[in-house]
C-alpha cells in the first residue's frame, strides 16, 4: 500500500505540532508496512528520510503534460477561493467576470508552465497564494507518481489533496489536526473555513485527532458523521533523554508552555496563579512561549501585582523546552480549545505532573492527569495547590503518568489509519 501524503512541515524545521505529528504518523505507517510519499512545500534536505520519501514541491516543474489546460483547471478551479465574492453584480455581469477570471487563470497557469515556484513553506502574508500554488503543483505530482491513496494534513494542504483526487480519482483522506475554530475562537477566517469545508466534503474519510475535534467537524462544518473517524494522536519518545538542571530558586515552579494565544487560555493561568500565590508563598509561575496575547498577559500580571513571582521566558526552542520541563514541578495546560495537545505528554515524559483542561483532546486519552474546566480558575488553583503541597499526589501522578505516556505509541495510531485506508480501497474495488 502506498500513500501520497501532503503536509506543510516536517522535522527538524517545524513551528508547531503539525510537523511532529506528521513525522510520528509516517514512521508508524512505515512500521505497519505502508509506503509514504511525503510532499511538502519547501524541504531543506535535512529532513529524516529514513522512513519516507520527501517530495519538495519547490522542486517540481509544472509541465505541459496536461495538454488541455482548460480541462485541468476545470478540475482544480476552486483554487481562487473567495475572489469571486463580489457584491451587487447582476447575473450577466457575473458570468462575464467569471469568464474573465477563468481566462486569467489559464494565463496564470501558462505562465507557470515550465517554471518552479519557490514556496516559503512558512505561514506568511502570501499564505493563501502559496496554498493555491501548492494545489497546482500537487496535480503535477499526482500525475507523475504511483500511489493508492491520498492523505492531506490540515487546511493548508486540503486543496492539494483535492486536486490530486480530482485528477487521479484515488480516495482522499483529510486529517483534521486543528480547525479554524480552535485557532481563532468565534472570529474565524471564512476563507480558511471554506477551504476546510471543501477539503472535508470532497474527502472520503475525515480523520479527527479527538472526539472534541470530531464534534466540531460534524457540528460546525456539517460533515456527514459517518465519514468522520477519531484517531487519537500519539507521541514518539525515541531517543528522549531527561535533562538535569540546577535550580536558581528554591521555590517550586508551575509552568505554562505554549503559544500565548486565545486558544491556549493563558489568562486563566494567570488568574489561577494569583490565587495560589496568595495562599502558598513558596512558588513561582512561568509562562513560556510567544504569541499575540503576550503583551496583554504581561500587563495582566503587572496589574495583579504578582510580577515578582510570575515570569515570562519568550519563545523556547527544543533543548530549552526540555530544560523548562526539568525546572517544573507542575505543568498546566489551560487550553480553551485544544484539538489534541501533545505538550502535556512531553511534560509527563519529563516526570512532571500535569493539569489539563477538559476542553482538550488529550483529556480523552489521559487518566493520570488532573482535569479541570479551563474557565474554572478555582479548580485550577486548587489542583496546583494540591500538587504542590501533597507529595503523595504528585508522586503518584508522575509514576503512573510516565507509564501512561509510554504506552501511547504512533504504531497504534498508524494501525488505525491503515485500517481506514484498507477499508477505502476495498470499497473502491466493489
Amino acid at each position: 500500500m502506498k500513500v501520497l501524503m501532503f503536509g506543510w512541515e516536517f522535522p527538524p524545521h517545524i513551528s508547531g505540532g503539525l510537523g511532529t505529528a506528521c513525522y510520528g504518523l509516517t514512521k508508524g505507517l512505515v512500521n505497519n508496512d505502508v509506503e509514504v510519499l511525503f510532499v511538502m512545500p519547501s524541504a531543506t534536505g535535512d529532513e529524516d528520510q529514513t522512513s519516507v520519501r520527501i517530495i519538495d514541491a519547490s522542486d517540481i516543474e509544472v509541465s505541459e503534460r496536461c495538454s488541455n489546460v482548460k480541462d485541468f483547471l476545470e478540475k482544480v478551479q476552486f483554487i481562487r477561493i473567495g475572489s469571486n465574492m463580489i457584491p451587487y453584480v447582476d447575473p450577466k455581469e457575473f458570468s462575464e467576470m467569471m469568464t474573465h477570471l477563468q481566462e486569467g487563470q489559464i494565463e496564470d497557469f501558462k505562465l507557470g508552465i515550465g517554471k518552479k515556484y519557490k514556496f516559503s513553506g512558512k505561514y506568511g502574508t502570501n499564505l493563501m497564494e502559496e496554498v493555491a500554488r501548492y494545489a497546482l503543483v500537487a496535480g503535477e505530482i499526482a500525475m507523475s507518481n504511483d500511489f493508492d491513496i491520498i492523505h492531506a494534513h490540515d487546511w493548508l494542504t486540503y486543496l492539494a489533496g483535492v486536486a490530486a483526487k480530482r485528477i487521479t480519482g484515488k480516495p482522499l483522506v483529510v486529517h483534521m489536526h486543528a480547525t479554524e475554530f480552535d485557532r481563532s475562537g468565534q472570529n474565524i477566517n471564512t476563507e480558511v473555513y471554506d477551504i476546510e469545508r471543501i477539503g472535508m466534503r470532497e474527502a472520503d474519510v475525515v480523520i479527527a485527532v479527538s472526539h472534541l475535534t470530531r464534534n466540531i467537524v460534524i457540528n460546525k462544518y456539517g460533515i456527514n458523521p459517518e465519514k468522520v473517524v477519531t484517531v487519537h494522536n500519539a507521541v514518539d519518545f525515541q531517543g528522549f533523554q531527561n535533562v538535569q538542571v540546577d535550580r536558581g530558586v528554591p521555590e517550586k515552579i508551575v509552568t505554562f508552555l505554549g503559544r500565548i494565544t486565545y486558544q491556549k487560555g493563558p489568562e486563566y493561568f494567570i488568574e489561577a496563579a494569583k490565587k495560589v500565590i496568595k495562599n502558598y508563598p513558596d512558588v513561582r509561575f512561568v509562562m513560556a512561549g510567544n504569541g499575540d496575547l503576550l503583551n496583554r498577559c504581561i500587563r495582566h500580571v503587572a496589574k495583579l501585582k504578582i510580577a515578582d513571582r510570575f515570569h515570562f521566558t519568550g519563545f523556547l526552542k527544543g533543548a530549552e523546552v526540555k530544560e523548562m520541563f526539568a525546572y517544573s514541578d507542575v505543568y498546566v495546560m489551560p487550553s480553551v480549545s485544544e484539538p489534541f495537545g501533545i505538550s502535556p505528554l512531553e511534560a509527563m515524559r519529563s516526570n512532571v505532573p500535569v493539569i489539563i483542561s477538559k476542553q482538550s483532546g488529550v483529556a480523552e486519552v489521559l487518566k493520570h492527569a488532573i482535569k479541570v474546566d479551563f474557565w474554572d480558575i478555582d479548580a485550577m488553583a486548587d489542583s496546583i495547590y494540591g500538587l504542590l503541597s501533597y507529595p503523595a499526589l504528585s508522586k503518584m501522578a508522575v509514576q503512573n503518568g510516565l507509564e501512561e505516556v509510554n504506552s501511547l505509541k504512533w504504531d497504534g495510531a498508524a494501525y488505525s489509519v491503515k485500517e481506514i485506508y484498507s477499508r477505502l480501497l476495498k470499497n473502491k474495488k466493489k
Binding site: 502558598y280 487518566k367 489542583s383 495547590y385 494540591g386 503541597s389 501533597y390 503518584m396 501522578a397 503512573n400
Partner: protein, 424 residues
C-alpha cells in the same frame, strides 16, 4: 439437623464532603455537603429504607416469627436519619419490636480504624453499641466490621470485647477448598465464631439481579430458593449478606426487586428443613467445623477481597496516615467538635473515592463515587485534612497552656503510625 439461612443487610450513608478549596484552609472549618447529604438520604429513604422496611415488617407479621432478618446500621447514617429522615428510625424501631430482627455491632463511623488504631476502634464500637441500645433497647452480641474487614488479629480484639461471633467474607483465597456454608472460629480465640458470606448467592441478588446479559436472568424467588436448597443439601448455613440499598436503590423498583423480596420467604419455606435465623441464634444451634486462618485482612470488596479498595495506592496511604496522625491530639484536646469531625473523616468512603482500581474494573466504584477522578477526591480530602490538622495543632497549644503542662507536640515530630501493609 435443621438448615439455616441468614439474611443480613448493611445500612450506611457517608457524610460526603463539600467542595473544599485550599483557600478555605484555616478560614472555614465546615467540611460537609449538607445539601447533597440530605438530598441523597431523603432519596434513598424514600426509594429503599422505608418501602423495604415496610415489606420486611409485613413478612414478619405474616409468617408469625418464622421470618427473621439482621441489620447493621452505622452511626454515620443514624446521625443523618436523625437530622433528615427521623421516620426511618421509627420504622426500624417497629421492626425491633417484632423480636425477629437482630442488630449487629460495628464501628460508629464505618471506619477502617481496625487496621490502624485499636484504641480508636474500640471506642467507636462502644459508641455504636450505646447508640443501638438507646434506639432499639438491645445490646448487640455479634459484630460486623466495616466492609466485612477481618483478620485473625481483628477477630481476637473483637472476642476480647465480649462478642460471640463476627461476620466476614467467604473469600476464596482464604477458604480454598472449604465451603463458606458452615460456622468457623477465629484462629487465635476459638470462642469467637465466624459467619462467612456466600458471595455467589449474595451477589446474584446484589449485583446480577437486573443484568439482562446474565444467563439466569430473570431471577425469580422460586428459582433462587431452589439454589439455596441445593446449597443446603450438604452444608449447614447460607449467609446472604448485602447492602440494604440493593432494594430500590442499586436495583431500581422497576427491576422487580421488591416483588422478589416479598415472595422469597414463602418460596424458601416450601423446603421444610430450611429456617431463617439471625447470627446469634445460628451460633447457638450450629457447631463450628474448624478454625479459619486469616493472617492478612480480607473484605467483601472487589475481585481481590482485600483492603486495597481503601488503602492500596499512595494517595490513600498518605491520606489515611495523615488523618490518624492527629488521633492523640484530638483526644488530648477534649474538643467534642474536633472529635466528631475526626470520626466523620474516618468513614471508609472517603478513601474509596481515591481508588485507582476503577480505571480497570469497576462500574461498581463509579456508581458510588461523586468525584470524577481519584486525584480530585484526594485533593479535596487533603484540603479538608490540612484544615483539620491546623485545628488540632491549635487545640494542642491551648490545652498545653490551660493545663499548665508543656505539650511540645508541634515541635517534636509527630509519631507516625505506619499503615498496615496490605497483602495485594
Amino acid at each position: 439437623m435443621d438448615k439455616t439461612i441468614c439474611l443480613y443487610f448493611q445500612v450506611h450513608q457517608p457524610h460526603r464532603l463539600r467542595l473544599y478549596r485550599f483557600f478555605d484552609i484555616g478560614k472555614s472549618s465546615y467540611y460537609f455537603d449538607d445539601f447533597a447529604n440530605k438530598t441523597i438520604l431523603r432519596r434513598v429513604a424514600e426509594r429503599c429504607y422505608l418501602p423495604a422496611n415496610r415489606i420486611i415488617h409485613e413478612l414478619i407479621v405474616k409468617y408469625k416469627g418464622k421470618f427473621k432478618v439482621t441489620y447493621s446500621i452505622t452511626g454515620s447514617v443514624i446521625d443523618q436519619f436523625e437530622k433528615f429522615a427521623p421516620e426511618v428510625i421509627e420504622s426500624f424501631k417497629e421492626l425491633a419490636k417484632t423480636g425477629c430482627v437482630e442488630f449487629l455491632a460495628e464501628t460508629y463511623s464505618h471506619s477502617l480504624s481496625a487496621l490502624i488504631s485499636e484504641e480508636e476502634f474500640k471506642e467507636q464500637v462502644k459508641l455504636h453499641d450505646q447508640k443501638i441500645f438507646t434506639l432499639f433497647g438491645v445490646k448487640p452480641t455479634v459484630f460486623r466490621n466495616t466492609e466485612l474487614i477481618y483478620s485473625d488479629k481483628i477477630g481476637a480484639i473483637v472476642a476480647d470485647m465480649g462478642y460471640s461471633a463476627m461476620l466476614t467474607e467467604g473469600a476464596k483465597h482464604v477458604l480454598g477448598w472449604k465451603s463458606p456454608n458452615f460456622l468457623y472460629t477465629n484462629a487465635l480465640n476459638p470462642r469467637l465464631k465466624l459467619l462467612l458470606k456466600n458471595f455467589n448467592l449474595s451477589d446474584d441478588i446484589a449485583f446480577r439481579f437486573s443484568n439482562h446479559n446474565w444467563t439466569n436472568w430473570p431471577l425469580t424467588a422460586d428459582k433462587y430458593a431452589g439454589w439455596l436448597a441445593k446449597a443446603l443439601e450438604k452444608d449447614d448455613i447460607v449467609n446472604i449478606f448485602m447492602d440494604y440499598e440493593t432494594f430500590g436503590e442499586h436495583q431500581n423498583i422497576s427491576t422487580g426487586i421488591f416483588d422478589f423480596l416479598k415472595h422469597l420467604p414463602a418460596e424458601i419455606m416450601k423446603y421444610k428443613t430450611i429456617q431463617f435465623d439471625t447470627p446469634s441464634e445460628i451460633c447457638k444451634k450450629h457447631q463450628p467445623v474448624a478454625p479459619l486462618h486469616v493472617p492478612f485482612p480480607i473484605s467483601w470488596a472487589d475481585e481481590e477481597r482485600d483492603t486495597s479498595a481503601w488503602i492500596g495506592n499512595e494517595l490513600q496511604n498518605e491520606a489515611f496516615a495523615k488523618l490518624y496522625s492527629a488521633e492523640s491530639k484530638v483526644k488530648n484536646s477534649g474538643d467534642t467538635t474536633l472529635l466528631s469531625d475526626f470520626r466523620k473523616l474516618q468513614e471508609s468512603d472517603h478513601f474509596y473515592y481515591m481508588c485507582t482500581k476503577f480505571f480497570s474494573d469497576g462500574a461498581v466504584h463509579k456508581y458510588f463515587n461523586p468525584y470524577e477522578t481519584p486525584y480530585e477526591a484526594f485533593i479535596n480530602y487533603m484540603n479538608v485534612v490540612s484544615d483539620f490538622l491546623l485545628r488540632c495543632d491549635r487545640a494542642a497549644q491551648i490545652t498545653g497552656q490551660s493545663g499548665g503542662t508543656i505539650i511540645a507536640e508541634d515541635k517534636s515530630p509527630v509519631k507516625k503510625r505506619t499503615v498496615k501493609k496490605v497483602k495485594p
